[in-house]
């Protein structure tokens, strides 16, 4: 019953329906890298990505040599374990959906499992530091939150690495998990991976993805619902500089009745060859009656030479829903805006700051972790300084 309206790079509408989601991936999801052909770049799910900059993560030539240090700091009551490949808790949130994620799943040697016991309410965040030391690595992280537990987890990526790593979030019934994943890499790093959340009955998942660094970052934030009543909020902030490729490919699979999802990603771009890609796929399956979903992507282009590809896709297989919509727009910080602000006495660099801070403000406020918000604002300012200077 779904009609097909092509969704373009700058659309703004209530309901638009893209190409069927299944038709746009080059192979079915699988744990095994051998099930995926090596992408050549013309596939729908690879066409925006500069494969030559993936350093072999996509074609089997990347060889792990360590070089990424993972440290978990957790408050009391949280269990932190390093487990082998055969641990039963791995792989439950969902299968890898592209070759690089499958490569990560097929190649990691040890996984990290962070467990918050049921009904445990943490007052301090769990902090997972992923520090690149120049090498190539494959990783796997599981964050498991028991029924009615509440937790905040910050995953902080810094340094230089070539990393393919997946993260699973398992959110128990009635539990609340907020995850902030910060990609504050050096500008030489390559990072690809899939972050999949399995949301339990009446559970709440909030994800904040912050991408500043890296030569190439390509992430798949994904949500599936295990039972009715689940709620997912996915926020993203990215600042794509000169020469950087930052790609966020979201998928929300509404296969369960009475679940909600809300997506808001905002990015600023500056400099030549800065390239941001945002794919927002939402699928409302026939069984998912009572679904309420909205997704938004906004981009602010600060200088000439930057490129944005923003593609929202909404596929709806039932009319018995509360709401479904999306909006995508890419705007330019224009000379006229700069003139207007300067004509009120505001110097050019401050005018630019004012606009960019305003653009990101409401999303930054969603994080709810003061030291992280401050760091983010400082980072935005620093990125702007680089552009102005």
């Amino acid at each position: 019953m779904a009609e097909t309206i092509p969704a373009g790079s700058t659309t703004d509408g209530v309901i638009q329906v893209g190409q069927p989601t299944d038709a746009r991936v080059s192979a079915p999801a699988s744990y095994d890298v051998a099930d995926f052909p090596v992408p050549h770049g013309r596939e729908e799910d690879w066409r925006f990505t500069p494969l030559e900059r993936l350093r072999g993560l996509h074609d089997g030539t990347a060889v792990a040599d360590g070089g990424v240090k993972v440290e978990v700091t957790a408050p009391e009551g949280v269990t932190v374990e390093t487990v082998g490949r055969d641990d039963a808790r791995l792989g439950r949130a969902g299968k890898p959906v592209d070759r690089v994620a499958a490569q990560a799943y097929s190649s990691f040697e040890k996984a990290s499992v962070v467990s918050v016991p049921k009904e445990t309410v943490l007052t301090e965040p769990v902090r997972i530091s992923v520090r690149g030391e120049g090498g190539t690595a494959f990783g796997h992280q599981v964050v498991e939150v028991g029924a009615f537990a509440e937790a905040v987890v910050v995953i902080d990526h810094t340094g230089d690495a070539t990393l393919a790593a997946n993260v699973e979030y398992l959110i128990g019934d009635g539990a609340k998990l907020t995850v902030v994943s910060v990609q504050d890499w050096d500008d030489t790093a390559v990072h690809a991976g899939q972050h999949t959340a399995l949301v339990g009955r009446d559970a709440t998942f909030k994800s904040v993805v912050v991408t500043f660094g890296g030569d190439l970052v390509r992430l798949h934030p994904r949500v599936v619902y295990g039972a009715p009543g689940g709620e997912a909020e996915l926020y993203g902030v990215y600042f794509t500089d000169n020469g950087q490729h930052q790609e966020h490919r979201l998928f929300i699979d509404h296969d369960t009745p009475h679940c909600r999802s809300n997506v808001a990603y905002k990015g600023a771009l500056q400099g030549k060859e800065a390239h941001a890609v945002w794919i927002g796929d939402v699928l409302i399956r026939a069984a998912a009656e009572g679904t309420d979903t909205y997704e938004l992507n906004r981009n602010l282009v600060l200088t000439d030479g930057a490129r944005v590809d923003s593609v929202p896709n909404l596929e709806i297989e039932t009319g018995e829903i509360v709401g479904a919509g999306h909006a995508s727009a890419t705007g330019r910080f224009e000379d006229e805006q700069l003139f207007y602000l300067m004509a009120r006495g505001i110097p050019a660099d401050e005018a630019r700051r004012l606009v960019v801070r305003g653009f990101f403000a409401e999303l930054v406020q969603q994080i709810g972790i003061p030291d992280l918000e401050e760091r983010l604002i400082a980072k935005i300012e620093a990125e702007l300084e680089a552009s102005v200077g």
Binding site: F339, Y340, I346, G358
Partner: protein, 254 residues
């Protein structure tokens, strides 16, 4: 006493086939406390004069001088001109998404005054100024000019005029697109600023209608990129009756 002196100002814009001269030798002196109306037909260059004085990058000054109390305005950047006391109320104010009116006004006032206004008095100052211009308090939280009606944009411009208290206020067709009620509210705002005696006003308009509310001391007719005739308020009455025809025929814009 602040004085804006424009002497033999020539300005051109880039057009297909090379630069095109729009202002062809403008001479004008505006002193603090005076109100000058600049009237002229479409295309005569009167908006170009306004934007050139504010420093819009689209316009290139090819000759002449502009000074404010002897300081070379043309050597200043756009923000420096504003801080020196030149204010342009724009005909088409620009939308600035993501920046709230309250944040914008405070940032601007801080830049113009050289220090951040004290929060408590500032909030009161803005609130009262908004009330006088019949601007709904919810405007403070809206993004600058985003989704504003034509009348709301103009009232927002005059709100800035009242708060920033410039030495020279250039009002570029502030009356255009306003109904009678909005015109009255906006004119009262301009008059409050004029009554301070601290501002020299350059009122650019196509119509004589606004001059019923804002009484000029001097009226200049602008045609073909320069001032074709100057006089007192009686010149506006003549234009009201006869229109611009006499000026257009004698060497109009291309």
């Amino acid at each position: 006493m602040a004085t804006l002196e424009i002497h033999d100002l020539h300005v051109s814009v880039d057009a297909e086939g090379g630069p095109r001269e729009i202002l062809r030798g403008v001479d004008l002196t505006v002193k603090q406390g005076e109100t000058h109306a600049i009237m002229g037909p479409n295309g005569s260059g009167k908006s170009t004069l306004a934007y050139s004085l504010a420093g819009h990058p689209k316009y290139t000054v090819t000759g002449g001088t502009v000074t404010l109390d002897g300081e070379d305005v043309l050597a200043m950047s756009v923000d420096e001109r504003a801080r020196a006391g030149v204010f342009l109320a724009m005909q088409y104010p620009v939308e600035v998404p993501g920046v709230s009116v309250s944040n914008f006004l405070r940032t601007s006032a801080t830049a113009i005054r050289g220090e951040a206004p004290k929060l408590r008095t500032w909030v009161k100052e803005v609130k009262e100024a908004m009330e006088r211009l019949q601007i709904d308090p919810s405007f403070a939280e809206r993004n600058v000019n985003e989704g504003f009606s034509g009348g709301e944009k103009k009232r927002h411009e005059i709100l800035q005029l009242e708060l920033l208290k410039p030495a020279i206020a250039i009002l570029d067709e502030t009356d255009s697109g306003l109904d009678v009620d909005a015109l009255r509210v906006v004119s009262e705002g301009v008059n409050r600023v004029r009554e301070s005696g601290q501002v020299g006003t350059l009122l650019i308009t196509h119509y004589t209608r606004i001059l019923r509310y804002i009484k000029p001391d001097h009226v200049h007719v602008f045609a073909a990129g320069r001032i074709a005739e100057s006089g007192g308020p009686e010149l506006a009455d003549k234009l009201e009756e006869e229109g611009y025809e006499a000026y257009v025929k004698g060497g109009a814009s291309e």
